[in-house]
């Protein structure tokens, strides 16, 4: 599929869409139906709607329909308005982008129009620092050589400037001509590949040749990049609006559902099935009872003639009676709780970054529980783990290690002395540092010089050289570079640049010293690329040692060297180089060969060591997270060697002796697949103690995804660590997708625009509001200032949120089941007719007031203190494995509610028998029994008692009695004065105490036994906290506790895969 873009041709402006960018999900018209449809996709909402509809039939409804319709409406309105608000904000930010004023050239006249008015084929005129509004093919720049610089950070996250060049046929066009240019660009249909653009261009007369000119990605300016250091540039719009490469790779963010949520949904379905079974049984029994007994009861006046649907009435009544089994309040309660968790995160002082003044923020308030269940963290490297700030730290010149005492060579007195005494080795070294690069010095008006560089390493080296009095002052277009050393100026003519490629791992330049006319080859590169090419007899051993030492410190090393060239030799070589540069096939290989021929016999000058400083606290954080059972992967666009170094430095991978790095690479596809299989075998057979990790790059991943996804998934599930380099944004997202589809809970963290897709794809996306802008932070669910805050985010906030949600959700089911079981028990003594023991008001208030408030206390509950969690991070495994919310814990709650229902019901009907057997009184006694019991249940499961908690639990009690005493005063209600009577009866209070004792006694005893004989890891830590008090545990105790915890948790670790097995199969079937 092709698209033909006619440049500057208004007649075909409507064949493609305009440049209106739209990220909104809804329009004004489709909001209501689409949103409703979306909300009704959740099983619970469908269920409640059904119940609400059934309640409209008065024959069967036990309570007034308002009890369901009211809450249902509130739930819908709340979530719809939240969606609407989010969408409105998206609309506003789109609008801002669309209304931007952009210069466009039409028929030679420059005009300013709104960005959304740009059409395919328009010529767009950009100025320095403009954001590029759509995808353009560059046709002209202010630079005479047809170059411009763009910053692509928003697109791929790489912060270095990229050079873009105008296509050859557009060279030599004057700016007037550019405005009137006519032609056609033949390009593929929109796609999301930001590294490829295979197109060609033809210009129409009068501008000359009808020849096709090939275009590559280097001729394009892509949307959302920035034009830098270029006065102006202009280009032809080829993709517009959402069809641009950045728009296509944006993807829409799907609403995220947490693992806890889907577990709750599953439990809901299970309860629903149980409910249907109960309803069918009771309905059948009810119908039988009616026919055998009910008809004899003259006072019921069953008519002789019954309508056809009569057999349905009793089952449907029971359905409505049991409908409260699924608590309608659970969604509201959980949403509220989640909102509070999010506020906790927002207000956490310890996650406030004073350096950048950014607090932590949770944009998505709905997924805090997932933080506590994270299994995989996929982290970006640059800017996330590192500070993204390259600094020259150390160097090794002719046998002296500079900077190894102070850690900073620039402050090493020996080096400063050597510079001032003009030590020839040092001077030469500095000269290479300053010259051997592609850095462009820019002199500002006040005389200061700044450097712009494609690579941050080069920038660091040039800056360091200038600090050591070796100043690169200018480079002019004819290739004369001016260097200022200790005040005296030197001129060099840069003749050739032997460019850096990842294969060559080195770059060189050939310069001519203007004063002496000497030819020099200056080179820098990785040690393994330079040492084999050094002069014979050169002592490389000491250099090797230095390199090794530096890389153990996590520094990026470069080896500098030079070689004197004879003029003849250079001339000869230069001709070959020209030929190779012009060759049409296999150009790269040929150039590499020619370069290699010159880069021989290099005299090694020294080693530089550059630090990309890790953010503070990164190694500790990663260590902690790994101890907590989280697998940390590093996904980076960077080179493999750097990635591995950083990996070593931040505890991601362990050095050789204890760990092993399995590299998956190869020249051909088969090689790669073979090494994948090899890695898999090693991984399977390896000892548990050994720390295994695998490394692969983007190309290998592409092939693996195509050919051998299955074994890669296996490998991914086994590997605790992985380093993936040279990843495109899409590939990062794909990796997240693979882990996700195998049932793991993933967290993606990054800081740049290139991480946006993976952040959106992952279960939890965390953005670092860093130096690369706020794009990632905006797309993310959580944004934090520094990587180290992840520790608190996961271990403290995530874990607590999960624990709390687990309690709240199960408790909600418990209280609903409790009241429902009482209804069922009562139905056996009311002729299976479906009478509700409780009246409408009680039923509604039970869910909304009496039981929702005490459970809110759990939002403030901390099972173990933050300090303990951070000291024993392995406790996270407990929530990770879903130990607090699963089928067996739910069964426990289910059993408890059944038991409590029996206790309440049996005690009530026996204590209030015979002359006290009054419906209103009995119902109120049973209701109070439930309230008492559940207050004690909450108290029992609360671990920390703070003021709000006590107020909520016991205040709720007071509220219950207040409400009922007030309701008792309303004469039109049936329960008129009932509560007054009850409160005056000693037997009422005696009954309550009995219910509490009989209900809680066995629960307490069982809990005690379990605490003693099968303590969970959490119990152990709680005991430690109690015995320790505030005193710090001595070291040996701590370690023994650690081992004991590990022992308790090994089962979890071992069974983890089996625990996730059901999840896995479920997720597969649900899709």
């Amino acid at each position: 599929m092709q698209r033909f873009v006619y440049i500057n041709d208004e007649s075909c402006r409507d064949s493609y869409r305009d440049n209106r960018v739209s990220n909104t999900k809804y329009t004004l018209w489709n909001f209501l139906p689409k949103n409703l449809l979306e909300q009704f996709r959740r099983f619970m909402n469908q269920y409640f709607l059904l119940i609400a509809c059934l309640q409209l039939w008065p024959t069967i409804t036990p309570v007034s329909p308002a009890t369901t319709w009211g809450p249902l409406a509130i739930i819908f309105i709340v979530s719809a308005s939240k969606e609407a608000w989010d969408d409105y904000n998206r609309y506003l930010s789109d609008k801002k982008v669309n209304e931007r004023r952009i210069w466009v050239v039409k028929d030679g006249i420059r005009r300013q129009i709104k960005a959304r008015g740009i059409h395919v084929g328009n010529i767009v005129w950009l100025h320095e620092n403009d954001e590029i509004p759509c995808d353009l093919v560059l046709i002209g720049t202010s630079d005479p050589q047809g170059i411009c610089y763009v910053e692509t950070a928003a697109l791929d996250g790489e912060t270095d400037l990229k050079t873009r060049i105008i296509p050859s046929i557009c060279a030599d066009l004057s700016s007037e001509q550019l405005g009137k240019i006519k032609g056609v660009v033949e390009c593929p249909n929109p796609d999301n590949d930001i590294r490829r653009f295979d197109a060609n261009m033809r210009l129409f007369p009068p501008i000359i040749d009808n020849e096709k000119c090939p275009l590559t990605i280097n001729n394009t300016l892509l949307q959302s990049c920035y034009l830098r250091y270029t006065e102006w540039a202009c280009g032809v719009a080829i993709y517009t609006g959402n069809e641009t490469k950045s728009g296509m790779s944006r993807g829409t963010a799907e609403p995220k559902l947490t693992a806890a949520d889907s577990m709750i949904d599953k439990l809901t379905v299970a309860i629903f099935i149980f409910q249907i079974a109960v309803v069918l049984l009771l309905g059948l029994a009810g119908n039988i009872w009616k026919d055998s007994h009910g008809c004899k009861l003259w006072y019921l006046m069953y008519p002789a003639e019954r309508p056809w649907y009569d057999f349905l009435v009793i089952p449907l009544r029971f359905e409505l009676l049991c409908s409260i089994m699924i608590p309608i309040s659970i969604k509201v309660t959980l949403d509220l709780a989640k909102g509070v968790y999010a506020k906790f995160i927002d207000c956490d002082d310890q996650m406030f970054d004073p350096e950048t003044n950014t607090p932590a923020h949770s944009a998505n308030t709905a997924i805090s529980e997932d933080l506590g269940q994270v299994e995989y963290i996929l982290s970006d490297k640059t800017g996330t783990l590192t500070e993204n700030r390259m600094i020259f730290r150390r160097c090794y010149i002719s046998g002296v290690l500079y900077g190894d005492k102070t850690g900073d060579a620039l402050k090493d007195a020996r080096l400063l002395n050597a510079v001032s005494s003009k030590d020839p080795d040092v001077v030469k070294f500095l000269m290479v540092m300053a010259l051997c690069n592609t850095v462009v010095p820019i002199k500002s008006n006040d005389g200061t010089i700044s450097y712009k560089a494609q690579s941050q390493d080069e920038e660091a080296l040039v800056n360091a050289a200038s600090n050591l009095n070796m100043l690169l002052t200018s480079k002019d277009s004819s290739g004369i570079a001016e260097i200022c050393f200790n005040g005296s100026k030197f001129y060099y003519e840069v003749l050739d640049v032997l460019e850096f490629t990842s294969d060559r791992k080195r770059m060189s330049i050939v310069v001519k010293e203007v004063k002496s006319g000497k030819f020099l080859l200056l080179t820098k590169g990785a040690d393994e690329a330079i040492f084999p090419r050094s002069c014979p007899g050169e002592q490389t051993k000491t250099y090797l040692e230095a390199v090794e030492m530096y890389s153990h410190l996590g520094l990026r090393t470069l080896c500098l060297g030079c070689r004197d060239l004879e003029e003849d030799e250079y001339k000869e070589w230069s001709k070959k180089f020209q030929d190779a540069s012009c060759s049409l096939d296999n150009r790269e290989h040929k150039i590499a060969e020619v370069c290699n021929s010159l880069e021989q016999g290099i005299h090694i000058l020294g080693i530089t060591a550059i630090e990309d400083r890790l953010q503070d606290g990164v190694p500790e954080t990663i260590k902690l997270l790994r101890k907590a059972g989280i697998n940390v992967w590093m996904l980076t666009g960077d080179k493999q060697t750097t990635a591995i170094q950083i990996g070593l430095l931040c505890n991601l991978i362990t050095p050789e002796s204890k760990g092993q790095l399995l590299s998956i690479n190869g020249k051909t596809e088969d090689d790669i697949l073979q090494s994948l299989e090899r890695a898999l075998t090693i991984m399977k057979t390896a000892l548990e103690r050994k720390d295994l990790a695998f490394v692969l790059d983007g190309w290998a991943l592409e092939i693996i995804l195509k050919r051998s996804l299955e074994s890669f998934t296996k490998l991914a599930m086994m590997s605790r660590t992985a380093i993936c380099c040279r990843m495109t944004p899409l590939q990062k997202a794909q990796l997240v997708g693979i882990l996700k589809s195998s049932g793991s809970l993933t967290l993606a963290i990054g800081d740049g625009g290139n991480d946006v897709r993976m952040i959106q794809e992952a279960n939890v996306g965390v953005g670092i509001s860093g130096r690369e802008g706020l794009q990632a932070a905006r797309a993310a669910d959580y944004s934090i200032g520094k990587f180290k805050f992840l520790r608190r985010l996961i271990l403290v906030h995530g874990r607590y949120s999960y624990n709390r949600t687990a309690f709240i959700s199960q408790y909600s089911f418990y209280k609903s089941l409790l009241i429902c079981f009482i209804q069922i028990l009562f139905s056996f003594s009311s002729g299976l007719s479906g009478t509700s023991i409780f009246n409408s008001i009680s039923l509604m208030a039970y869910n909304v007031f009496y039981t929702s408030l005490p459970v809110m206390t759990i939002i403030f509950d901390k099972d173990i203190s933050e300090a303990t969690v951070l000291r024993y991070p392995q406790i996270l495994l407990y929530s990770q494995a879903g130990r607090l919310l699963n089928r067996s814990t739910f069964a426990e709650w289910f059993g408890r509610s059944l038991y409590h229902a029996f206790v309440v019901f049996l005690i009530t009907i026996n204590a209030y028998a015979d002359e006290k057997s009054d419906m209103e009184e009995l119902s109120m006694v049973a209701l109070s029994g439930c309230i008492w019991l559940q207050a004690f249940v909450v108290t029992l499961d609360t671990n920390s008692f703070t003021c709000p908690q006590i107020t909520l639990i016991w205040g709720n009690f007071v509220a219950f009695y207040m409400i009922n005493l007030i309701l008792s005063a309303v004469p039109t209600l049936q329960m008129h004065t009932v509560m007054w009577h009850l409160c005056n009866q000693p037997s009422y209070w005696i009954t309550m105490a009995l219910i509490v004792a009989a209900g809680m006694g066995p629960v307490l005893a069982l809990r005690y036994l379990r605490n003693v004989y099968r303590p969970s890891a959490i119990d152990v830590l709680q005991q430690i906290e109690q015995t320790d008090g505030h005193a710090q545990a001595p070291g040996n105790l701590e370690s023994s506790t650690g081992t004991y915890l590990d022992y308790l948790l090994t089962d979890l670790r071992r069974n983890k895969s089996s625990i996730h097995q059901p999840l896995l199969s479920d997720s597969a079937s649900s899709r």
Partner: protein
């Protein structure tokens, strides 16, 4: 923490249980089930026919032996068995608005009262609904035969006070002073008792008692009270006018004489339940202690302490 709590609860509950038990034992009651006894032997095969035959005089006399002395006031209850006042079709079949306010009476929405909502020609029934319609209408009159030193003494009638058997709130608010029974029991099918159409509902206390529906199929309702002390061994003769049909659903009818204690009528349940719970707590505490003594905690666990 747990064991002390259990011990504490146990120690607290046992005395309370004993007190409840004692309180209940101080209450004396006499229960006499008369539904079968009051049917003549020749009609036993057709009890329903007997009760529905209006031409038979259905008064029957039963003698209640008072085993213990009973102090005034003595409450008289009727007890029904297997009578589902809590049945859904029944329990909701009344209209609260209609009962209290004569203004509401005409326009109250009495759909819920069906099938006892309207008399012929669509005139509303007051009080409507199945509950009122099935009003219990057996009546009792009591006479005591005090045990005299020599043989049978004379008969002395016991006055049954039938006012004040309902709640004050019912008399004053729920049942209106200006609402009179209308069209009540005028249909082709007569359910239970009739009401005096000249008396306002606020004075019809037996209706109020009946209409406070019971939660269980076996229940007692207050019939009246006797302000007299009964001695042990004395006999009370009850003349029952047996007219309520409990026979078609094989329900039981009984008359109950009972004194009242601080916890209400005689009900051993609370006392027993307290004793059982208290004991259970103590036993549980003992068991837990023993278990912990004989099967101490795992070594790793102990090391942590």
């Amino acid at each position: 923490m747990v064991i002390p709590i259990l011990v504490f609860v146990g120690l607290l509950f046992i005395p309370i249980g004993l007190a409840c038990y004692a309180a209940s034992n101080k209450v004396f009651e006499v229960v006499y089930r008369y539904d079968t006894k009051c049917v003549p032997k020749n009609m036993l095969h057709n009890k329903v026919g007997y009760i529905q035959n209006a031409s038979i005089n259905k008064t029957c006399t039963i003698n209640l032996k008072i085993p213990n002395a009973m102090k005034r006031p003595i409450f008289i209850y009727y007890q029904l068995d297997r009578f589902y006042q809590n049945h859904r079709r029944y329990a909701t079949s009344f209209n609260i608005a209609q009962l209290s306010d004569p203004k509401e009476e005409a326009n109250a929405d009495i759909k819920d009262c069906k099938p006892e909502a309207y008399a012929a020609k669509g005139i509303p029934v007051v009080p409507c609904g199945l509950v009122a319609w099935s009003l219990f209408n057996d009546t009792y009159s009591f006479a005591r035969r005090p045990r005299r030193a020599g043989g049978i003494g004379g008969v002395e009638a016991l006055r049954v006070i039938k006012s004040g058997i309902s709640w004050r709130s019912e008399r004053e608010r729920l049942f209106g002073k200006h609402v009179y029974p209308k069209n009540f029991q005028n249909g082709s099918l007569v359910g239970g008792g009739r009401l005096d159409p000249r008396k306002p509902l606020s004075e019809q206390e037996e209706l109020m008692v009946w209409m406070r529906t019971a939660a269980m199929p076996r229940f007692r309702k207050l019939y009246g009270r006797v302000e007299a002390d009964l001695d042990a061994g004395e006999t009370v003769a009850v003349a029952v006018r047996n007219s309520y049909n409990s026979y078609s659903f094989e329900g039981g009818k009984a008359v109950v004489l009972s004194t009242a204690g601080p916890l209400g009528g005689r009900n051993a349940f609370l006392g027993r339940a307290y004793l059982v719970t208290g004991m259970a707590c103590l036993v549980l505490a003992l068991l837990l202690t023993l278990v912990c003594l004989f099967f101490p905690m795992t070594e790793e666990h102990l090391r942590l302490r």
